[in-house]
Symmetry: C2
Subunit: 319 residues, 2 copies
């Protein structure tokens, strides 16, 4: 073996990069914020920040471009896949930005694979995280959005257009509220942090003086005993549990791994999620689902991005 | 090529068998009802009827057991898979009946593969039905129950315990009515024929004199203009559409194929299904889903059962 990949993770607010060895070891890990930009040069400024981060990582690891098996990248969606033309919701400067092509130019046409961050999460948990060896796996992340990915029969699932595992838009309430995606009653609109905060505010919750109305503060208030905060946080957890049950009723999964700040805010969310799951998972094959807690939010997305390149039979695709 | 399989389809009320050639041609097709039995010998009487049907098919096709590549069987669930120990809901005489083992004894240990009928449906539509060549496919059947199967990345999906594609227990209404499976708001309880008839009766629908209160009569009354029948049939279709949207939002499918007498009862169901799908499929990758109408209810389950044996790389498994 001895292969290594450059792994890049681009979220809505931060960029991370590292060199990842075939045994999962990370070297030269670097993080920085996505720059706030505007104007016609904004797209290039964001890309420059990505490449600076990646290059700094190579320098810190002491690895040359010629020594890479390739570059793997997880990026916030939506995107065109496998083309790797990305339009992350929270990076307005990038619309149909040819991320994969631009990276290829800089790495001498070494293989570059770009995929949705939810799919990188699933690959990372399965390759080197808490879900190693699981044959049929759902990865879910609940924070500002609800995303995820699927490993089925031991293989990363891509979907026809690269959106498989996008559990945020699983319908969990056919008569539920409209979702910005154009659907109705999607898990994301029932459970994501900002939607939950919005409902709590509408129900009379007020964040403590000087603190923002966000998911973290809502969870803290719930933990401190605020009943409205507690109820809305539990509703979010319950919806995530129902969505996990629906997915395993459909797919006969072995385990689910749950990540994301909102999902990991404490027992109020987690207990409601388990109860929601139990309420909707009636069949024996569904009830056996193991629910795992994601353990390493900084490394998992980079493991996943690296796995695209380092373990192509299981996690890769032909670009 | 020139291989051939014995294909068997066991539903709740009928048994079918045929010899299926590698090009999908059926020879010696035979159908008969599941015998109504009771007492301790009931399980054997049902099995005798299955084997009589299968053997008659071999005779009619002029094919000897030694000329078979193997035996494929789709059977109503639930079952233990891949053991092929079946407990079809509508065949009470069979509880943990070792169908696969019993068939193996009769075919000189030729390969015998037994799987859920919903999974046979998906394999049959994909191998030789209206969904040939679809890379990511959901098959749905709506009649006395709601079942289905999945082809993902060109491969039949089995699931950890052999229940993948079981869309009848996809949660479509998290606060919906309890489902006999132990869950709540499952597609089956929202959409299957008997549940829909029950709701129509509760809402005041009365079948015409001398006719049974079943899905077929309900659909006929809806077509003839009965408003209660029409509303309940449309609600069923709408729930199926929502479930299809949820599945494609999660799995990024290319097409869905819809089978079953209730789903094919006419435009009231079908139009409501499409509208329900449109309401819940907001994302571009979901909206592209092609919705196909199953065309050959007598042959598709036998094609699927044969495909388990004849095309093992795509549809088979190691028993």
């Amino acid at each position: 073996m001895g292969e290594r990949a450059l792994a890049i993770d681009i979220g809505g607010t931060k960029i991370a990069a590292a060199v990842v060895d075939a045994d999962g070891a990370l070297r030269g890990a670097v993080r920085r914020p996505v720059p706030v930009v505007s104007g016609p040069s904004g797209a290039e400024q964001v890309f420059a920040a990505v490449w600076d981060c990646a290059y700094e990582s190579l320098l810190a690891a002491g690895v040359g471009i010629g020594e890479l098996a390739g570059v793997g990248c997880g990026c916030a969606g939506p995107m065109r896949w496998p083309a790797g033309e990305v339009s992350p919701l929270n990076i307005p400067a990038w619309r149909d930005f040819p991320l994969r092509e631009r990276l290829r130019e800089l790495v001498d046409d070494a293989p570059v694979l770009v995929h949705n961050d939810g799919i990188a999460l699933a690959a990372g948990e399965h390759w080197a995280g808490v879900a190693r060896g699981v044959h049929n796996l759902l990865a879910v992340t609940v924070s500002t959005g609800v995303g995820g990915g699927l490993i089925l029969a031991g293989q990363l699932l891509h979907g026809g257009w690269g959106n498989a595992g996008h559990i945020g838009h699983l319908t969990v309430a056919a008569d539920g509220p409209p979702c910005p995606c154009g659907g109705q009653g999607c898990l994301e609109v029932m459970a994501a942090g900002p939607h939950t905060v919005r409902r709590a505010l509408a129900a009379g919750w007020v964040p403590p003086a000087g603190q923002p109305a966000d998911g973290r503060v809502l969870a803290a208030c719930a933990a401190a005993g605020n009943q409205t905060a507690r109820r809305e946080l539990a509703r979010s957890g319950s919806a995530v549990g129902a969505g996990m049950a629906a997915a395993t009723n459909l797919l006969d999964l072995d385990a689910a791994v749950v990540a994301g700040g909102f999902a990991q805010s404490g027992p109020i969310f987690w207990d409601a999620m388990r109860a929601g799951f139990d309420r909707h998972a009636g069949l024996a094959f569904s009830r056996r689902l193991r629910i795992l807690r994601s353990a390493d939010p900084d490394r998992v997305p980079l493991w996943g991005a690296a796995a695209f390149v380092l373990v192509p039979d299981r996690y890769g695709w032909s670009g």
